[in-house]
Amino acid sequence: MDEDNKITKKQVIETEVPMGTVHSAAIEPYRVRLFVEDEVVKDAEITVGVNHRGVERIMEGLPVEKANSLTEKICGICSNSHIWNSVMVAEKALGIEVPERALYIRIIMEELERLHSHMLYLAHGSEVLGHETFAMRMFYIRETVMELLRMIGGNRVQYGVPILGGVRPRAELDQMRIQNIKDGMDYVEEKILEFAERFVSDPMIMSRITGVGVLKKEDAIRLSATGPTLRATGVDIDLRRDMPEYDSFDFNVITQDDGDIKSNLLVRVLEIPESIKIIRQAIANLPDGKITNRGWDMEDTPITKSYIEVPRGKLYHSYSLDDGRVRNVIVRTPSITNIGAMEYACIGSHITDAQLAIVQCDPCFTCTDRAIQIIQI
């Protein structure tokens, strides 16, 4: 009898609340199934795969320059991270040396992108929280950063700044642009500190987000959560500290202890001044010289990997080069490892907090949907 009961011992929860794939609370299409008992979430399941566009399949066999610019289209929020990492793979494989000035411009772009991504997170989080005023304020501050990105890259969303061996000539920083970035950073810092003070001193918001959607430290490590989601549970890991590109910059890694929505929001809020610090250092020490290194030759290389820290965590790209064309492309984005964290963060909270608990992990499902399922070989 016991032998048979082994499977059925697992508690079966009958009430299921499905959400999605198109749902009003989530901009992106994904499917959540919440298993509910007395309005408390007991289990959650997130299914992705709706946005699958097969970017890796399209990249296969393209010339490496084209493939690099295609990686940008994986995600519209962290597009610079994708193209930077993809370019870095080829640079590592071919041994291309990047001029110092180009590296600094890349880092300025990356940190500006982190600013706008975190601000978008705060705006979206406030909107889901039900505080539209904060969301609008956040969008207003974010507009400064978007204008800076447009100034450097020429487009508000996909800038395409890094190319093999440097950055595009379009992204050269002259005195006027540097002054604009300086002014923008002063403005953003002032407004963000103001926002943070108002946010933490609002008792209504703090009581709404404290202790809700808790992700335990052990769970976060076990589920291999990355990025700010992991740092919000108290794990002190930031790949930027270990990347040689960031060696000459001085910044702090922000961690919080609780793993709830409050910690997640605070980690992102406090990372914004750190990013501003990096941008200021980069501008103050911007080296002179060329921004592109054209002296390199194409050759065949084995599969090369590269990891960088992007606004949402750790991003992985790898491919091999064959006759100047890209083969065996694999992209692994931070959100795919954070899905487990999202499911665990829902458990134990009230059903009205479930959406907030998912949003706290900063999901980007458009990045995530690229897995190729081989049904028949």
């Binding site: 901009i27 992106e28 299409p29 566009r53 399949r57 289209k73 519209g76 609008m136 508000r156 458009t366």
Partner: protein, 148 residues
């Protein structure tokens, strides 16, 4: 002018549906309606997530295989008169994902949006600029307002 058309002219509700793009257009559209800088709400254009109260459907993305059926159903659920805006390069011609000139056209992409539902206004750009979204919304308005 009936009460219905009077009130419709003063509150145009836009529903945004995302069919598998890269998120860039979506955020720009939300930004355009929501952010105080562009603030489409001052022109009485409001964002809604409910198809039954929407007048205008804004579609972004190249319409992936799994999103085709939901898109048709959302279009059906919107009451007449309705207008559809296709926003972004993906929605207009499949974008980079369709692999138009490539060796094998992608099987995952059912778009462009034209193939699935009738489109009234087209907004180009990758990603769309908020100014263009406003212009597209204005181009779609006569169809709504002149309907009997």
């Amino acid at each position: 002018m009936s009460l219905k058309s009077y009130s419709r002219a003063r509150a145009v509700h836009v529903m945004l549906v995302y069919t598998g793009g890269c998120n860039g257009c979506d955020i720009e559209i939300v930004n355009c309606i929501f952010s105080p800088k562009y603030d489409a709400e001052q022109y009485k254009i409001f964002l809604t997530w409910n198809p039954r109260e929407a007048d205008v459907l804004v579609v972004t993305g190249p319409v992936t295989k799994h999103n085709e059926q939901p898109l048709r159903e959302i279009y059906k659920a919107i009451p007449e008169p309705k207008a559809v805006i296709a926003a972004g390069a993906c929605a207009l011609m499949g974008g980079v994902y369709k692999n138009i000139n490539g060796d094998i056209p992608s099987e995952e992409i059912m778009g462009p949006v034209d193939n699935i539902i009738p489109v009234d206004a087209k907004v180009p750009g990758c990603a769309v600029r908020p100014e263009d979204v406003l212009a597209g919304a204005v181009a779609a308005l006569p169809k709504l307002l002149n309907a009997k």
